[in-house]
Amino acid sequence: MKEEEIPSDPFLKEILQQTRLKAPEGISMHIMQRILTVEKTKNTIKTEKLPGELSFNIFPVIAWIFFFSIVGIFFILSSYSDNIPVSIVKQYLIYILPVVTLTTLYYFLNELGKYLFFKYFLSKRV
């Protein structure tokens, strides 16, 4: 059966037109309210981390930048002045480098642990 075989029917169209319903009053307002709620929820999700979502933590990055800035400043100062010997820089590196490294490692493993916990353990229970 081809499409042309289904006859056009102005009479049927006209009488169906008469039974066309109008949407209830205020339905568009309800729809827009629900859509605005969807938008609000979307924005909240964007700012709040969901459980099981890997997040980027800025603190280790700041720590590393701070650490290298200090190292840089020491090197620059030591090249201009003999009052700041290179040994101080070495000592700084020896004591501070492990602290920054361990802090970064702590943040990284903490995030990874939470991610794996939610993904492979909690999701199976749910």
Binding site: E3, I6, L12, I15, A23, S28, M32, I35, V38
Partner: protein, 187 residues
């Protein structure tokens, strides 16, 4: 403003632009949902759900089909899942029992008042299976092509054509039967 531009606006963060699409399609959406569910409250809820779903899925709208086709498809599936497809099989066999004649004319209907005509048509449509009523609405009222109806309902092309043909025949059969009864009552 064209629909494509409105959709672009919405996708660029202008949520309020969606209101114009709601205004444009809410009546037809309600008509379709009501024809499928035959309940005002359910239809209203389904229309709201369908619009929210459409809004959420708008980034995936590729613009290959008309927005109306894409939206009616969402609406159709939302309505179907509301009653888990029951309406598709809810053929009212009693209406088939007295379909034995092919209608010739509808002259009597032309002479009636509009309100009376509407009441009769609504009574007839209530006796038709919801899926057939829906197909008539999409094809004759919304002027969807067969291909668009295929996309909306997920039925095969031949199935849509057969159902449409049958629906139209059933409508006229019921109309003729109804008019005969009315005339008999008046006599």
């Amino acid at each position: 403003m064209e629909e494509r531009d409105i959709i672009a606006l919405i996708l660029h963060g202008n949520t309020n632009a969606f209101a114009s699409l709601v205004e444009k399609y809410q009546d037809m959406a309600f008509s379709i949902a009501f024809k499928m569910l035959r309940n005002k409250e359910d239809a209203e809820e389904v229309v709201q759900d369908a619009f929210v779903k459409a809004y959420k899925a708008l980034p995936s709208f590729r613009g290959e089909a008309r927005f109306s086709t894409w939206f009616y498809r969402i609406l159709y599936h939302t309505s179907v899942s509301r009653y888990q497809g029951q309406f598709l099989t809810s053929l009212r066999e009693e209406t088939l029992d007295y379909i034995d004649e092919i209608p010739e004319e509808n002259e009597e209907l032309n002479h009636m008042e509009i309100t009376e005509r509407t009441a009769i048509i609504q009574a007839i449509l209530r006796h038709m299976p919801p899926d057939e009523e829906l197909l008539l609405t999409l094809y004759y009222l919304e002027e969807c092509s067969i291909n668009e109806i295929v996309q909306i309902t997920g039925l095969s092309e031949s199935n849509v054509k057969v159902k449409l043909f049958r629906a139209r025949k059933r409508f006229y059969d019921l109309l003729k039967k109804y008019m005969k009864n009315e005339i008999n009552v008046l006599q």
